[in-house]
């Protein structure tokens, strides 16, 4: 039994190794990819997608057609054309004026960072819980009768057959 379990485990290794290689490769591509907007208009789009329309529910400045959003888009376009501020600085400029209700993508600093950290923590806890539970199930299933158990059962059966 021990031999077959070890063999089963060994047979799974290439699969896991391949999966590991793929994950590392994808992470490397994702991290080093020369992303980001290329033209000023793409920059305006990227910034206005990160800003919420100050008078709508869950709509970005990019999508929203109302007057306030049009004004904000125009302001972003002007500032991008001037080229004096980074994307984050332009977003802070708008955020400051519209009293902080305009961020669609939460910041990764301060208390806002919890929004990013909590799902990861929950995921890790859930996976740990599953691993723990599966282990316990497996341990229960792996239980096999020992020689002593067989002797007991045989004795009981014999006793039952011999009995009245």
């Amino acid at each position: 039994m021990n031999r077959s379990a070890a063999w089963r485990r060994a047979k799974g290794w290439p699969g896991w190794a391949l999966l590991g290689v793929i994950v590392v490769a994808l992470l490397a591509i994702g991290a080093t990819r020369a992303g980001g907007p290329a033209t000023p208009e793409e920059r305006v789009e990227a910034i206005s997608r990160r800003l919420a329309c100050p008078i709508c529910d869950g709509e970005s400045v990019f999508e929203s057609r109302n007057n306030a959003s049009a004004s904000i888009r125009q302001e972003v376009r002007t500032q991008v054309a001037e080229g004096l501020r980074t994307d984050d600085e332009i977003i802070s400029f708008i955020e400051q004026r519209y009293t902080a209700r305009v961020l669609l993508v939460p910041r990764a600093t301060g208390i806002d960072a919890l929004v990013w950290a909590l799902p990861v923590v929950a995921f890790v806890c859930a996976v740990a819980g599953l691993v723990f539970t599966f282990r316990r199930w497996k341990r229960a299933a792996d239980t096999v009768p020992t020689e002593g158990d067989r002797v007991l059962v045989d004795a009981a059966l014999r006793a039952g057959l011999d009995g009245p």
């Binding site: 008078i55 007057n67 306030a68 004004s71 904000i72 125009q74 302001e75 400051q96 004026r97 519209y98």
Partner: protein, 191 residues
């Protein structure tokens, strides 16, 4: 198993109770009343630059330039407006009364300016021709003035002191009486 579940249950109940309690505290702490002066990072800071043109009373006439920084020495009231906005229509008579009241104060009175948040020249001209109000109307091309002040919805009224410092932001309709009182109070705190 049932014992284990029973042992966890009080902790889950406690967690839910804590979450509900925290929510109640947050809700109780938020103010429902609209304050006289709304929050803005510009409060007690220099007003953003406002450089634009004034809408002439008649089409075809020359447009005068407007620069807020040249209004230093006077109290300035900026009213953000749009001819389609219903509260703006409701507020208008109060603005007419406010303008009259402030003119009566002479040099100490505040200057009223409309900032045209939306609407064509013709629309705005016709609106004021019908409803009255001969104070200057400032164009806001591309909405840059509105963004500089963080105005998302009209009407909004801002008070700027003779040093060019923002003293009040009022979201929604204002009254002549309320504005007159606020301006008087601000004048007294400055002198």
């Amino acid at each position: 198993m049932p014992e284990g579940r029973r042992r966890i249950a009080p902790f889950i109940a406690l967690a839910v109770a804590l979450a509900v309690g925290a929510l109640l505290i947050v809700l109780a702490g938020s103010s429902s009343a609209r304050d006289e002066s709304a929050d803005t990072f510009l409060l007690d800071k220099p007003a953003p630059p406002v450089v634009s043109t004034l809408l002439s009373a008649e089409a075809g006439a020359a447009d005068l330039a407007f620069d807020l920084s040249r209004r230093k020495g006077s109290w300035v009231v900026l009213n953000f407006f749009d001819p389609d906005c219903v509260p703006c229509i409701a507020e208008h008579d109060e603005l007419v009364a406010l303008d009259r009241q402030q003119r009566q104060l002479g040099d100490a009175g505040a200057e009223l300016y409309t900032i045209i948040n939306k609407g064509s020249d013709a629309e705005v001209r016709q609106w004021f021709a019908e409803k009255g109000g001969d104070w200057p109307k400032v164009r806001d091309p591309g909405g840059s003035i509105s963004v500089a002040f963080g105005v998302a919805q009209v009407p909004e009224t801002w008070v700027i002191d003779p040093n060019g410092i923002v003293r009040a932001r009022l979201i929604g309709e204002v009254t002549a009486e309320g504005m007159g009182g606020l301006l008087q109070q601000l004048r007294e705190t400055m002198s």
